[in-house]
């Protein structure tokens, strides 16, 4: 197989602060050093590593630094990374929206980029007119669009409204229409940025199916950015992990995902650094994880384990945890004595196992605050022992329940109460 895309020491530098205050003096200084004195660009050297959390000590920052990789033809590559790791910049460079600061990118074949769905839609124009406009913007010719028009309209499911101005469309319909056009692009290389996050469940399914056709059936190279690990796992063969503008890992999709998850700020384990503390109760370790596999899906039971040591009998023992949303909203509470009415334990080491049943949590981020305490006296689990975990949407369902995104939704229940249905 031949190489389809090659990144050769590609770097991209941005200036921090207000970009519009780009000053003449800097430009003149740069021009003077580079063109007159023949030296290196003074502003290229001082760029610092792209780390969003630290205060910058330089005015310039490397959004991407020395990116070097190759993509085989027909490969589907998932690009993973935290916010601000440089994923979108990378896609922007590849789709020629902006140029690299140094290095070269080489590619074989047409590059179609899908950084946004429905780019260039004009609200005053009808769906049909916008299909032509959007298609042409994405690089199709008029004939090509005319040939595929019926298929596109059919795929979008907007047939009834195709001669209505797009401004009368619901946002979901606009997205469908936009994706439908993009789905019928025929570039050799397709660059996709998180476009599946929009649209309703039925459409997501269709879109993912279409993307799979594109990559597997037709030998196309796809670069795909998403925060949804499940869809990366399903669609991609290989992955690239970006961190602060560097490629920190490249390998198969599942390797890259687990690498990413292990490096995330998600704390799924806690080990007490001082297990022999001289106190009544000691929390030794705690962990949270799926019952099976390595990722927590909505359909996976979530297990919380922790070990404690009781040094002295405690009058009123509390061993349990609070389940919180990532926004600190308390969701549930579990205790060791829920069922047995016990209030104390003999001295010794104990391991507790809690299990949140499958299909209880909707996808999103959660926190577990441990409680290992003598009631109304002292809590022995400190702030460091707060565990976090992430629930991904199930591979096989596409329910659009995002507890994170729906502020009105306060429950943790992922409504899966359908028992069955049959045709009468």
């Amino acid at each position: 197989m031949s190489v389809s895309i090659e990144f050769n020491h590609v770097s991209k530098q941005y200036r921090l602060g207000l970009v519009s205050t780009r000053t003449l003096s800097h430009d003149l200084n740069r021009w003077w050093t580079v063109n007159v004195r023949g030296k290196e660009d003074p502003y290229l050297k001082i760029g610092s590593v792209n780390d969003r959390s630290k205060k910058a000590d330089s005015e310039y920052v490397w959004a991407l630094k020395d990116i070097d990789f190759k993509v085989e033809q027909g490969e589907v590559v998932g690009i993973i990374g935290r916010n601000g790791a440089g994923k979108s910049t990378l896609l922007k460079l590849l789709s020629k929206v902006t140029g690299p600061t140094t290095g070269t990118i080489k590619a074989r074949g047409r590059i179609g980029s899908l950084l946004e769905v429905g780019t260039g839609f004009h609200p005053e124009m009808t769906g049909r007119e916008n299909i032509y406009l959007n298609g042409a913007i994405l690089g199709m010719t008029k004939d090509e669009i005319s040939r595929k028009l019926d298929e596109i309209i059919d795929f979008s499911g907007c047939e009834r409204y195709i001669d209505t101005p797009v401004k009368r469309y619901s946002s979901g319909m606009t997205v469908r229409l936009g994706f439908a056009v993009a789905a019928f692009l025929e570039p050799e290389i397709l660059v996709v940025d998180e476009v599946l996050a929009v649209g309703d469940a039925e459409f997501q399914k269709k879109a993912i199916g279409k993307m799979q056709n594109v990559s597997q059936g037709e030998g196309r190279t796809v670069l795909f950015v998403s925060h949804n690990m499940a869809s990366i796992q399903r669609l991609c063969q290989s992955g690239i992990l970006l961190e602060k503008g560097f490629v920190s890992y490249a390998g198969t999709a599942s390797e890259t995902i687990s690498k990413y998850l292990s490096e995330q700020v998600v704390q799924s384990e806690y080990q007490n650094p001082n297990p022999h503390a001289n106190q009544k109760l000691v929390l030794l370790s705690a962990s949270v994880g799926p019952k099976t596999g390595s990722l927590i899906y909505t359909s996976t039971p979530v297990q919380i384990r922790f070990t404690i040591r009781v040094n002295q009998p405690v009058g009123h023992l509390v061993v349990g945890f609070n389940l919180m949303s990532s926004f600190q909203y308390p969701l549930a509470r579990a205790d060791y004595n829920d069922q047995n009415g016990a209030y104390t334990l003999e001295p010794g080491e104990y391991e507790f196992l809690f299990e949140i049943p499958a299909n209880t949590l909707s996808n999103g981020d959660y926190k577990i605050e441990l409680d290992v305490a003598e009631k109304c006296v002292r809590n022995y689990a400190g702030e460091q022992s707060v565990l976090t975990f992430h629930v991904d949407i199930d591979e096989h369902s596409h329910a659009n329940t995002f507890s994170e995104n729906i502020s009105s939704k306060m429950s943790i229940i992922r409504e899966n109460w359908l028992v069955g249905y049959e045709k009468q």
Partner: protein
């Protein structure tokens, strides 16, 4: 086979200066027509009068000129009826200034689109220049109608002559000049936004440096700051184009001469060439500065 030959796309920090990809531009010709269509369709959507505004605008402008310049200031019109004289000037000038205003904001007003997808950016200003032709055409029809009315009324000293055959060339030159200036301005304003403020009122002042509300014959022989005012006026590359049209259509004044027309043409070619170069350079990095 040489490896580099196989690559179809090579993205580098900076291209060579002369790397305007005309082939690529040709591949996107469908986009050009669709943009033109979009501009035309959407311009007067949800207005009651719609394209009637194409006609109302010049009529009101001409009326104001008749009151202010013809009436109050008493500026002559080379013996041509005032409405005809002003209309011929404003139609041409408005095409130029509309194109210039549109093309000079190419980067700033399309940044949302340019930030998401690549296509040859030159398509956008080209489509602006072309779609403005419709409006210009309608206004020209208005001019012809007014002309015919005057001709039927009789006693009108205006009459077209053979120079009118230059009309297509003149329109192309107007479009080219507007595009050339627009490309320059749009490239500069991505970095230094104050230039857009400067240019927006420069364009309105520019009109007074062009013989629209007065005939060029008026400045003949006048001297300003030790220089021949006529020559200064003609150095404005729009003047020869406009004057040739007015002479050809109305027989007003006298032909400005092939020399000045050639000057305008050379000016246009150089301007357009440099404009495209600057524009091309800007399009690579403007997303980081705009």
């Amino acid at each position: 086979m040489n490896e580099t030959q196989e690559w179809t796309t090579i993205i580098k920090p900076k291209d060579k200066l002369l790397s305007v990809d005309l082939k690529e531009l040709w591949r996107y010709r469908d986009l050009l027509t669709l943009f033109v269509k979009r501009n035309i369709i959407t311009q007067y959507k949800q207005t009651i009068l719609g394209p009637a505004w194409f006609v109302i605008q010049p009529l009101m402008t001409v009326f104001m000129y008749m009151v202010v310049f013809g009436g109050i200031a008493g500026i002559g019109t080379d013996g041509i009826p005032q409405p005809l004289f002003y209309l011929s000037g404003t139609c041409m000038w408005h095409y130029f200034s509309d194109c210039l205003n549109k093309t000079s904001t190419t980067f700033v007003s399309n940044s949302g689109l340019f930030g998401k997808v690549y296509f040859p950016r030159l398509v956008t200003p080209l489509s602006d220049v072309i779609s403005n032709l419709l409006r210009f055409g309608i206004q020209m029809c208005l001019f012809i109608v007014v002309y015919i009315i005057y001709a039927f009324m009789g006693g009108c000293p205006a009459s077209p002559n053979w120079y009118l055959l230059l009309f297509p060339l003149l329109v192309v030159m107007m479009a080219g000049l507007a595009l050339g200036f627009g490309l320059f301005i749009s490239s500069m304003t991505t970095k230094y936004r104050d230039l857009s403020i400067l240019f927006s009122f420069m364009v309105s002042l520019w009109m007074y440096a062009t013989p629209i509300v007065y005939p060029l014959s008026m400045v003949k022989g006048k001297v300003a700051a030790g220089m021949d005012l006529y020559t200064i006026m003609c150095l404005n590359p729009v003047t020869p184009v406009l004057e040739t049209f007015k002479y050809g259509a109305l027989g007003a004044g006298e032909f400005i001469g092939w020399g000045w027309l050639l000057y305008s043409f050379v000016f246009l070619v150089v301007l357009l060439f440099l404009g495209i170069l600057v524009f091309n350079r800007t399009q690579k990095s403007f997303m980081d500065t705009v």
